[in-house]
Each structure stands twice: as C-alpha cells, then as structure tokens.
C-alpha cells in the first residue's frame, strides 16, 4: 500500500524517462554550455568565471542560508500543524473534510497581492517585523498542494481500523501514534515536506511584495548586472535544488531501512 511502484511496462517506462530527460536536460544542457563561456578570454573559450562571479558576491552565502532556513521552518510547520490535522480529519473529522478542502484552496484563488496585504496587516506587529513570518506564508501558499498530497496518501490507509487493531493488542494512545500511525503516513508526509521545501525555495512574488529579501529576490537583483553570471546562477540554483531534494529523499529512505531492521 505504501510502496507505490510504477508498474509501467519497461518499454513505456524507458520512453517516458527518455522524453522527460530530453525535456529537462536539453534546456539545462544548453544553459550550462552558455554559462561556462568566457567571452573576455576570446570566443570559444570556457571556464568557471561566471560561477566565480556570483559566489564572490558579498551576500551570496547570507541569502542562501536564509532561504534554506525559511524553507526548513515552513517544512516544520507542515509537519507539526498540517500532518496531525489531516490524520485527525481522517480518523474522526470526516464531516470537516469539505471545509478543509475549501480552505486549502483559498491560497490558489486569492491573488497573492491581496494575500500579502491582508496577511501582513492582520499579523501581530512583532511578527510583521520578523522575517520568519515568511515561513508561515510559504506554508500557506503550499497548502493547496501539501494538503491534497497528504489527504490522498492518508485516505488510502485504513487509519481507523489500524489504530483500533493496535489498541486492542494493548497499545496505548501514544504507542498507536508512534508505532502505527507515524510509520504508515510517512510516505505522504515526506512528499508534502518536499513540496513545502521546493515551493519555499522558489517563492518570489509574495516575498518581494512584502519587501523581504531572500535568495530568489537577491538573484533577480544581481542578475540584472551580468547576463552570463545570471545564467550560471540559474544553472547552479536548479542543480543545487535538485541535489537538496535528492539528499532529503535519500535520508528518508535510510531512516526507513533503519526502522525496518531495528527489530
């Protein structure tokens, strides 16, 4: 139930991977080629100059760190607020599900400008001046996707029967959560955390409307002064984001193995 494998025939799978690969890798490849050009040294020469340029910018490290932190906090909110809510909805809040569906669609329906102004003015003053309030907005913006990912993943699991089975076998409420509920919702939880991180790292509109500076807004500013540098920076961003998600994925697979062999 949780190990959803794609059961495409291998030929179909191959073609799908090939197409996706062409679609993703071709533009990335061209961009990379471009980003390594060094016109200052003459036509047809290649080097790391453009990469060296943006790395040497004084704010580069600051903003990368900040964006990662903001994404991590947003992911944390998803874990601590959304996951328990959806689990609860599936266990005993069935009637509230339509309301939740509606609420979580709002971030898609309400224009970001309205969201920004409304949210900002309704926030307590202390939070308005706290940059980490952005994490909360990222969490909200990701809701339409994260809620659905979680809900679909969790709805497929008979949580009620499983927790009743565990209880009748002598598991206390806490053990039911730790030993049964948490492990079986893992897959859906990881997917929604992924989504939150990806969306947070790439968010631009709301951030700039609220006059905050993060990695994405910094990139747009800095890019205006150096075209090749900007391309190098985008290639770097794509590769780094991909690597980051890969690392998160690998870590979660590792912990799963550990759990299974723990006995």
């Amino acid at each position: 139930m949780k190990r959803l494998g794609f059961k495409l025939p291998s030929a179909g799978l191959f073609i799908a991977v090939l197409l996706a690969g062409v679609f993703v890798l071709l533009p990335l490849g061209s961009a990379s080629e471009y980003s390594f050009r060094t016109p200052a040294l003459g036509p047809g020469t290649y080097g790391w100059d453009n990469y060296a340029w943006f790395v040497s910018q004084p704010d580069f490290g600051t903003f990368i760190t900040l964006s990662l932190l903001l994404a991590a906090v947003a992911a944390g909110i998803t874990l601590l607020v959304l996951v328990p809510t959806v689990v609860w909805l599936n266990l005993r809040g069935q009637k509230l599900r339509p309301l939740m569906e509606f609420l979580t669609l709002l971030p898609l329906v309400i224009p970001v400008v309205a969201l920004a102004i409304g949210a900002q003015t309704s926030l307590p003053v202390e939070l308005q001046s706290n940059q980490y309030s952005l994490s909360f907005f990222y969490f909200v913006l990701a809701l339409p996707y994260t809620y659905r990912t979680l809900d679909i993943g969790i709805r497929a699991i008979p949580l009620k029967t499983l927790s009743e089975a565990a209880r009748s076998l002598g598991a206390s409420q806490i053990k039911v959560i730790a030993l049964v509920l948490a492990p079986v919702v893992r897959g859906a939880v990881i997917a929604s955390v992924f989504l939150t991180i990806a969306l947070s790292l790439g968010e631009f509109t709301l951030t700039s409307l609220l006059h905050w500076q993060t990695f994405t807004t910094w990139v747009t500013v800095i890019s205006q002064s150096n075209i090749l540098g900007a391309i190098a920076l985008s290639v770097f961003t794509i590769v780094a984001a991909f690597a980051l998600l890969l690392v998160v994925g690998l870590v979660s697979i590792r912990t799963k193995r550990r759990q299974v062999t723990e006995e």
């Binding site: 949780k2 190990r3 009748s168 006995e263």
Partner: protein, 355 residues
C-alpha cells in the same frame, strides 16, 4: 461457582447512535472455551456488540464482565481481547512476523521470545514460510490468517472475529473457517464469531445466537436452532425454508394436500397463513405408487448437490416449492414432468399471511 462458568457475560447492554437503537438491552453468556456465533441480518447490531466487548465502543448502559470481573470501564488496550476485523487490518509497515509479534511487544515481551512465539503462531496458521513478507505481498486469505495469528499470540481472554472471512472467495472461506475452528478447539480460546452467513455460523459454532434488531432472539446449539426454532424469524433465518400459503384451523395447517400441527400457536391466527417448511420435509415423486394425500406439481428444475439433489416444482395452484431429495430418488424427475408433492413434516411453523 457461577462466576467461573462464564468467560464473558453481557448484561443489559444498550447502545444507540443518534436515536437509532443498535443494541437493545442485550444479554449474553459465553462459557470458557466456547465458540459462539452472532448471526443476524445486516444492521442488527453484531459489530456493535463485538466492539463494545473489545472496548472500541462505549455502551450507553449495561455491563461487560470477563470471568466475573466488571470491565465495562476498562479502556480497549487493557482488556486483553484479540480482535480480527472484517477489513484487512495488518500494519503495512511490518512483516507478517512483526505483525504477529505486535501484541507481545506491547506487553514488553523480549525480542527473542516474541519472535519465537510469533513464528509458532504463524506456523499454526500455516504461514511460517511467509514470515518475512509484508502485508501487500500476501493474498487476502493469508492476511486474515496473519491477523488471526496476531490476535491469538497474546492469548486473549476472548477472541473476537468480525466477519473475518467475508472479503474472501467461497473456497478460501470454507477452508479458513474450518481452520479457525480447529485452532480455537486446539487452544481452547473463548471465541465470538460474527457473521451474517447462517451456514458459516452453523458449521463451526458450539452455539449460535440469532440476533434481530439489537436483541438475541434465540441462542442454542446449531441442531436445536435448526430443528426447534423459537420463532418464525429464527426458523426462516437458519437454513432454507419454503414459504407456502396454507389454511390454519386453530391447530393444524393445511397445505400441499396434507396437514401438519402448528408449533407456534402465538400467531392466533387468521385462516390464511404462510407455512414454513424445510426442503427436506417435502417429497416429490412420480404419482403412480402412492395413494396418500398429495398435491400435483410440475418439475421446474433439478440441481445435483452430491448425495442429495434439490428439485424445484410448481404446484397446481402456482406456488414454487423446493425439495431436498436423495439423489438416488431423483433419477426419473425431469423438467416438465408431472409429480406428486407430499408434506413429510408433522409439525411446522406459520406466519401471518401478510408476512
């Protein structure tokens, strides 16, 4: 003394959901080592009764006692019940062996010991070869066997089975129910088996409790239920029944050219009633060799069931009756043949004709 002779006792258990009464002051006594089936139509409260015993549902009033001890207020995880659900309920992240060991793990039994015990139980249900499989790598029948092993591993006070076979196909269902009975006898586990399949209930139970609308109509051994039902509801729910229009004269019902004494005179009684007659109490034969009181009919169909065959026929006044006959006696009965119908029963039950 009395306390020791009941493993489980329900007294006046009542439960309603939003005004709808699911259990209506239910009483039930189950002896140690006994297998009692709760049998009844959909919605009569079987699952609710079981869930109240398990502590997964709270009764509005009434008591649940285990070996004389009142457990009405005890939470589910302290009750020591083994439950097998209708839906597949194995923990998907654990192997068969880890599933079977779960209850022992909750009791704090050490790793080596619980592993040994889990394997022993998987062996009992014939699945030791699949110990390392995950639930999604097993068939439905195998999953329910593991669920059974998991419930039995903790040596429960009472084993609670809620239609554990209903999601399985007919063949697996029959073999698994035999297996449940064998295990239950072997381990001496007091068991409640919920089902709406009367054949299943009759086949494996020490006693069957027939439920209707939140109450137990009758609880008896399968033989008594079948041969001596307490009400027409029980009579028609247990086993197959012909429902044949009859004339009631206050004492006897007249039908199929014969008559039989009526045992449930409670239906004090219009003259037009419906008689309940078991298929084995009707004989169909080629008319020549008998002069007894009989009715005429035409054979509709004959189905071979092994040593017996089921023959259906339409009587002259248009009612379809079904008879169970030794196959040896049915060789000359073919669709379209004219036959005589004879009522063999001396005693039957009736219902008001509008029923």
């Amino acid at each position: 003394m009395k306390k020791k002779s009941t493993a489980l006792r329900l007294r006046g258990v009542t439960k309603s959901f939003a005004g709808l009464t699911a259990l209506d002051s239910l009483d039930l006594d189950v002896k140690p080592g006994e297998l009692v089936a709760l049998l009844g139509p959909s919605g009569c409260g079987k699952t609710t009764a079981l869930r109240i015993v398990a502590g997964l549902e709270k009764a509005d009033s009434g008591k649940v006692l285990v070996r004389g001890e009142d457990i009405t207020e005890l939470p589910a995880h302290k009750r020591h019940m083994g439950m097998v659900f209708q839906q597949y309920s194995l923990f998907p992240n654990l192997t068969a062996e880890e599933n079977a060991a779960f209850g022992l793990r909750m009791q704090g039994v050490g790793g080596a010991e619980r592993k040994a015990r889990a394997l022993e139980l998987l062996d009992l249900v014939g699945l030791s070869a699949l110990a390392k499989r995950y639930p999604h790598e097993m068939s439905g029948g195998q999953q329910q066997r593991v669920a059974l092993a998991r419930a039995l591993a903790v040596e429960p006070e009472v084993l609670l089975l809620d239609e554990p076979l209903s999601a399985l196909d007919a063949k697996v269902r029959t073999s698994l129910r035999e297996e449940i009975r064998r295990l239950q006898l072997e381990l001496g586990t007091t068991t409640i088996f919920v089902t709406h399949d009367q054949e299943e209930a009759m086949a494996i139970s020490d006693r069957v409790a027939v439920m209707s609308r939140g109450k137990i109509e009758q609880i008896d051994t399968p033989d008594v239920l079948y041969s001596n039902p307490a009400s027409s509801f029980v009579a028609s729910f247990v086993g197959n029944m012909n429902r044949i229009p009859a004339q009631f004269d206050g004492k006897h019902a007249h039908l199929l050219g014969g008559k039989a004494k009526v045992s449930n005179t409670d239906s004090a009684a219009p003259t037009s009633v419906v008689a309940l007659v078991r298929p084995e109490n009707i004989r169909l034969f080629k008319p020549a060799h008998n002069a007894k009181a009989v009715a005429d009919a035409t054979v509709l169909n004959r189905s071979f069931l092994g040593p017996v065959s089921q023959v259906t026929a339409r009587t002259a006044d248009g009612h379809v009756v079904s008879a169970l006959l030794p196959t040896a006696d049915t060789g000359d009965l073919h669709a379209g043949d004219a036959v005589a119908v004879e009522l063999l029963a001396k005693q039957i039950m009736i219902e008001g004709s509008n029923a």
